[in-house]
Each structure stands twice: as C-alpha cells, then as structure tokens.
C-alpha cells in the first residue's frame, strides 16, 4: 500500500512536471535579451498615431513614483514596471516612433546599471525582452545575443505559468522581495553594485546603441534629456567616477543628476530601490518644479 502510494507520488509529480514542461515548450518564445516587463504588450495595446509633446521613459522606480499622478495631456508615460537597459529604452523609443508622431522632448530616467548590461553577459542583472516582428532583426544589427535563461530551470518554467503575476503588476506597486533582502545588508548591496559598476564595462554594444539613440532623436527633432534617477547613496557612490561617469564627461553628454535637485534619504526608499508614497509625491513635485511641467497641477 505504501509502496503504491510512493509510486503514485513519483508518477503524479512527473505528470505535473511534464505538463509544466509541455506548457513551457509550447509557450516559450525566442526573445532577445535585453525583460521581463510587459512593456511590449503595454505599447502594442496603445492606440497608434499619438501626438505627445513629452515622453517620460524610465524603469520601475519612476513608473511607481508616477503611479496615480494625473499627467498633463501632452505628456505620455512610457515608463515600465520592471527594469530596463539603455538598449531596451532605445528599442522602445524606436517602436514608438514607428507608429506615432515624434515628441518634442524625451526624458529618459536611468540607473547606471542600465548602461552596464548588454546581451553579451550570460546572466544579466537587468534585461528587456523584445520579440515583436522585425525587432529581433533590428536587435541583431546591434549584435545582441539570443536570450536563453537556463540559470534556474524551475523558475524559467514557472514564470510562464504566472500570467496573473503580470496582471497584478499592472497598476500596482509591489515590494520587491529581493530588494528588501538586499536592503538588510547594505554593505553587501554596495559591494554588489560596486562590483557591477567595476566589472561590467561600458561595452561597444551599449556605446553604439547609445549613439543610435542620439541619432534617432536628432533625426526626429527630439531633445533627449537624460536624468539619473533617485538612488540610495550606496548606489550613487558606486556610480561616481565610474567609467560611465567618465564616458558622459568625456563625450560632453549633459545629464541631470537628480541628487543635485533633491537628495532623498536612504531610509525613504521603501525596499532599497523604490520611493515610498510620500517621496513619490515629493519626487513628482520636484520634477514639476525643476525639470518640466508634467503634472496637471491643481488637479
């Protein structure tokens, strides 16, 4: 009886695992690395031929900070819920311009690591997925690698089973568990960030993509404004004097460093990365006062 039960346990486990595997094989897409956000779907779901004067681009830090804010009708929020590399930002803007009118200005918020990740890394810390028709080809032109995440066999399979996770992500801000855990040991966090900044150099792929991004904006008459987003001190410290910092300086690329506008206290990043509600309000207020009028005030 017990022997049969054990066999049943093994058999049923194998059946479920097989169903998961089949689902994975049927549904997985060959996508090109640079995320796991729903930016692609979000963009595709939008109407085409839009005419905005300002576009805000950025990752989850900016996305959740802007959540619930009423924007001026001339401003389009193109931030994403997850992380985003600079290559990813370029691809998104490129896609937007393919279907819509060019805006006057693009505010591109970034974290230093966004310039540090490209598809040559086998295990990027941040990545973006692009799998729309033609995009893969476009990406290949900048010599990006094909994405194949086998770093965690189980996770790779289970995330396909979790469409509800993305559903819940829409319009909701969530405490990032891994960030919270990193937050527990700030020295360790600094070490990791510092290591990333030192070990992962600004690659030719990223440099070229950045040049493409600049050309894209120039050809469409767009002012590209790069803004170094609010970060905890440890992350900022890792950025200072990094090769990225030197790159901007040597190329005379002006960026707006948000710390020169307002220095958020470390403890007010609720999970070490994202701003809490109070500071999200403050962040938007500071943008409105110092960078651009994007909020419809008194609303």
């Amino acid at each position: 009886m017990y022997k049969r039960w054990l066999l049943g346990f093994l058999l049923l486990s194998l059946i479920i695992a097989s169903i998961i595997e089949v689902n994975y094989q049927l549904n997985r897409k060959q996508y090109y690395r640079h995320a796991e956000d729903y930016a692609v779907n979000k963009l595709l779901a939008q109407q085409k031929n839009r005419d905005y004067k300002t576009i805000i681009m950025g990752d989850s830090v900016i996305h959740w900070a802007m959540e619930g804010m009423k924007l001026d009708p001339s401003v389009y929020d193109m931030t994403v819920t997850g992380s985003m590399t600079i290559v990813g930002q370029y691809m998104m803007l490129n896609r937007y311009l393919k279907y819509n009118k060019a805006p006057d200005e693009v505010y591109m918020f970034f974290i230093p690591e966004a310039f540090k990740e490209d598809t040559e890394n086998t295990r990027p810390r941040i990545e973006s997925i692009f799998d729309e028709e033609g995009e893969a080809e476009l990406i290949k032109k900048v010599k990006l690698g094909q994405f194949s995440d086998e770093s965690n066999y189980f996770y790779d399979r289970v995330r396909i089973l979790k469409p509800w996770k993305q559903y819940f992500a829409k319009g909701n801000r969530s405490i990032d568990k891994s960030s919270v855990l990193r937050e527990v040991s700030r020295d360790k966090t600094y070490e990791i960030v510092d290591q990333t900044m030192k070990e992962r150099h600004l690659t030719k792929v990223v440099e070229n993509t950045f040049k493409e991004l600049q050309s894209l904006c120039k050809n469409n008459g767009i002012s590209l404004i790069l803004v170094l987003e609010p970060m905890q001190y440890i992350r900022y410290k890792a950025y200072e004097n990094s090769d990225l910092d030197k790159f901007f300086k040597s190329k005379n690329i002006g960026i707006i460093d948000f710390r020169t506008i307002y220095e958020f206290e470390d403890k007010l990043f609720y999970d070490g990365l994202h701003l809490n509600q109070l500071n999200a309000d403050l962040f938007m207020y500071k943008i409105d006062q110092n960078i651009t009028t994007i909020l419809k005030m008194n609303n």
Binding site: L6, F9, S174, I175, K177
Partner: protein, 487 residues
C-alpha cells in the same frame, strides 16, 4: 546546505539515502553508519568547510570526556567531577567565544567608556545546537545515565544531518538506540511514505507561507520609525507567523528526512498558537528546547536549593528563561524577550496556584498577544527598533487604506488619515489575507504531528500533497535561510 534547495532535494538526499540502504543491504552496517556520518559532515561543510574541524574537534573531545566519566577509571589524574567541570567549561567557553564575545565587549565598552575593538567572529553554523546536545550527553554521562559507548553512534547522534543545523534538539537516549536497532536498517516503505508526506508539508510551509511573510517583516522592521498603527500590527503578526511556519516547516522537513532513514525525531511543535497560557505555550513551542532547559537548567538550579519553595521555584523558572533568551542570541533584545517570558511564566504559575479561572478565549487572546508582542524583541535588531514598533502598535497614527477614503471620509474628523499602507496597497492586502489564512491554519487545522499520526496513503492525500510539493519546488527560486540558523 538548505533543505529547501535543489541541491539537497535532488542530489544530496537521494544519494545519502541510496548509499545508506545499499550498504545496509550488503550487510555493511557499520559502513552504512560511516556513510551517514560522512554525508552529514558533507552536508555541514557545504555551508562553510572552515567550520568542519570545529565540529569534529567538539565531537571527539566530548566523546573522550564522556568515556572518562562513564568508565571512571581508578588512578586517574583527576576526579570524575573535575573532568565533568572541564567538559562543561570547554563547551560553554566555545559558545561564549564564538557567540558572546562581541556582546561582552560592547557592554564593557558601554560601562567603562573604553573603546575595545570588537572581534567580529562569524558564528559557526549550528554551534548552539550541537553544543547543547553534547552538554546534555556529558551531564548524563556524569550522572551515570549513559550506557552507549559506541563512537560511531555518538558521532551520528551529534552530526545526523536532519537535526544538525537547527534541531529538534535530540537526546542521546532516544537517538542512539535507534541507530543500533536492526530493523531500522531495512527499507521501510511506510516510513518513507510518511517521510515524503511530512517533508512536503514542511517545504510548503517554509517556501510558500513563511517566505511570503519575510518581505513584509523585513519591510516593517526596516521602517520601524515610520510605521502607522495598522502597519505595526501587520508587521508583528507577520513575524509571529513567519517564525512559526519557518521553524515548524524546517522541523517537519527534518522529521521527514530522518524518517527516510527510519529514524524518528522528537516532536518540536504542537500547535503553539492554540495555547491558552504561557506554560501551555512553552509545552507546545520548540518542545525539545523546553525539555532541555527544564532538565539541564531549571532542575539543577532547583536542586541547588536545600529546601524548595514556590518562590525558589519561580526564581529557577525566571533564571531558566533568562538563560534561554541569552542562548537564542547575544543581545539585550533576547535577554528582554527571555525575561518577559520568565515573568509571564511566574505569573501563570501563580495564577494556577491561586486556582483562579479565566475563560478559554480570554486566556488564548492574552497568550497569543503576549507571544506576538514579545516576538518583536526577538526579531528587532536593537531595543530602540523594538520600542519604535511597539509605539506604532499602541500609539501610532491611524491610517487606513486609501481605497476606503471615499466610504469612510467622516473618520478624518477623528484624526484618521488615508494612504498607501506598507508602501503599497497590494502588499497590505496580501499580507492581511495571509495573516487571516495563517490564523486559520494555526488555530483550526491539525498540526503536522497529528497529520503524520493520521497519515493514510490514500489517493486523496496524494492529490493534495503532490501539488503542494511541486508548487514549492517550482517556487524555490527565492531561497532564503531558516530563521533558526542564526541561533
């Protein structure tokens, strides 16, 4: 190595299991034991091989001392008592050296105004557990209660991997005979099925329930200064349930893994949150520690008095809980936690002595809240953080979820505000739902021990347990440590 890791489940456990029974099948009984000891040491070293010599030395030394105590040879250089004291001092010194030096220096610095440098010694894994078990063995050897002399059995008793890292704290009298029992060398499908069943439950408790609470606990304690009243309560309740599901989940996995080898580990939890008194609570929570503290701390203190009175018994109770607090960690928060439980036990004993009555619900309510509130000291990094959370829980601002603002706007006149609780409304909602579910599981459902006693290899059980196991396996990507690894 963590129980909730792919390496353990898919590599270590099957290899250790097959190797053990293969050797036994070929009548290499001693070889099987050696295999199990070697596997256990491999399991221990996986974490950090640097501590391997420490545990080996501790096992060798304690075994040698116990032999001296058991045999009590004539013409020996020292008396039996002297050997015993040396053994105790060595074990306690080891613990003090690795666990309490920085705490001691910090306090000396505070009192004297000096600035002695801290040693920052890393706490060797499981040192608190294997030292306790060996102290118990030495005490029993001294008192003539130890019969077993086999070194291999002794090594296995200390290092047996299911209980090595975080208990249950096993006693040599219940473990060593099991290692020698011949029928335990045979492949036992009943034990294997029960082991798989309880291991799956433990894995689910740890991976799905306890780990879900962890981010809210971290978030709450890290932002203790800015918590509102509701956030304070959610944080403390989240921790109360996290530690229970984490530790009892670990214990279930340990019991399950041991059962695969036909070894029965003692029960460590018996629905502690159903307790209706603090005495009752300690008979249900970390039961093996309670037994150890009672036998090897409380009783010797009591026996040191010439005449036992209620007052002296209460003193012994408090002292035992104070030591228990200190054993859990080198910090004032643990001392406060242990002392508060000591006081509560004294009050509870006095209550029983005076034969007063209380309704069951009220008794449960007081006990649960006491455990929940004192748990804050157990988790807090320092007393100030604990104070902040307590302040939030009792005098914090009342902020309700922003979604309720339109319906409850009139409450604003009473000072109630509306906003995003816990950083995000989604997290607040999820944490609240999970707390309600956890109350249901802890108070209404049968505990793991009852489940294993009732275990029947039915198809229905299979349909329930396999999805739990698979779900846990596929969700192990955010591997976190067990909370009791720190103690």
């Amino acid at each position: 190595m963590l129980f909730n890791s792919y390496t353990f489940i898919f590599f270590f456990l099957p290899v250790a299991f097959l190797g053990y029974f293969l050797l036994n099948y070929n009548k290499k009984v001693e070889g099987a034991k050696v295999w199990l000891v070697a596997s256990s040491l491999f399991f221990y070293s996986w974490w950090n091989v640097i501590y391997l010599p420490l545990i080996l030395l501790s096992v060798l030394l304690n075994y040698k001392l116990s032999r001296v105590l058991i045999e009590d040879e004539e013409g020996s250089l020292f008396t039996k008592k002297q050997y015993f004291v040396v053994g105790l001092v060595l074990n306690i010194s080891l613990l003090v050296y690795f666990k309490y030096m920085d705490f001691f220096i910090t306090n000396v610095n505070f009192i004297s105004g000096e600035n002695f440098e801290l040693w920052h010694l890393a706490l060797p894994l499981a040192i608190s557990f294997f030292t306790l078990q060996q102290i118990a063995f030495l005490v029993d050897s001294y008192e003539g209660l130890v019969k077993e002399k086999n070194f291999l059995d002794y090594s296995l008793f200390v290092t047996f991997f299911p209980q090595l890292i975080a208990g249950p704290i096993v006693h040599h009298q219940e473990m060593m005979p099991q290692f020698s029992r011949l029928k335990n060398k045979l492949f036992n499908y009943k034990n294997i099925a029960a082991g798989v069943f309880i291991f799956s439950i433990g894995l689910f408790k740890k991976v799905v329930i306890a780990d879900s609470f962890s981010k809210w606990v971290h978030h709450g304690f890290d932002h203790s200064q800015t918590l509102t009243l509701i956030e304070g309560w959610v944080t403390s309740l989240a921790y109360t349930f996290q530690i229970y599901f984490d530790f009892s989940g670990y214990t279930d996995m340990a019991i399950g893994a041991a059962l695969l080898f036909n070894i029965k580990l003692p029960q460590n939890f018996n629905s502690p949150y159903k307790a209706t008194g603090i005495i009752d609570y300690w008979q249900r929570w970390h039961m093996t520690l309670t037994i150890f503290i009672t036998t090897y701390v409380y009783t010797p203190i009591l026996r040191s008095f010439s005449k036992i009175t209620f007052f002296k018994a209460m003193f012994a109770t408090f002292a035992a809980m104070f030591i228990s607090g200190l054993w859990h960690g080198a910090g004032w928060t643990f001392i406060v936690w242990g002392s508060l439980h000591g006081f509560a036990l004294m009050i509870n004993h006095y209550w029983h002595k005076s034969k007063r009555k209380m309704s069951i619900f009220l008794a449960w309510f007081i006990t649960f809240n006491f455990v929940n509130i004192t748990g804050i000291f157990f988790r807090a990094e320092n007393l100030s953080q604990a104070k902040d959370i307590l302040q939030a829980m009792f005098t914090g601002n009342i902020m309700l979820p922003i979604q309720l603002e339109s319906r409850l706007v009139q409450l604003k006149t009473y000072g109630v505000t509306f906003g995003s609780l816990m950083g995000t409304s989604r997290d607040f909602a999820l944490a609240t739902i999970l707390i309600v579910i956890s109350f249901f599981i802890s108070l209404v459902l049968k505990n793991s021990n009852e489940k294993i006693e009732d275990f029947k290899p039915s198809f229905l059980v299979l349909l329930l347990i396999v999805p739990m196991f698979i779900y846990s396996i596929y969700n192990m990507q955010d591997v976190s440590e067990f909370l009791y690894f720190n103690f």
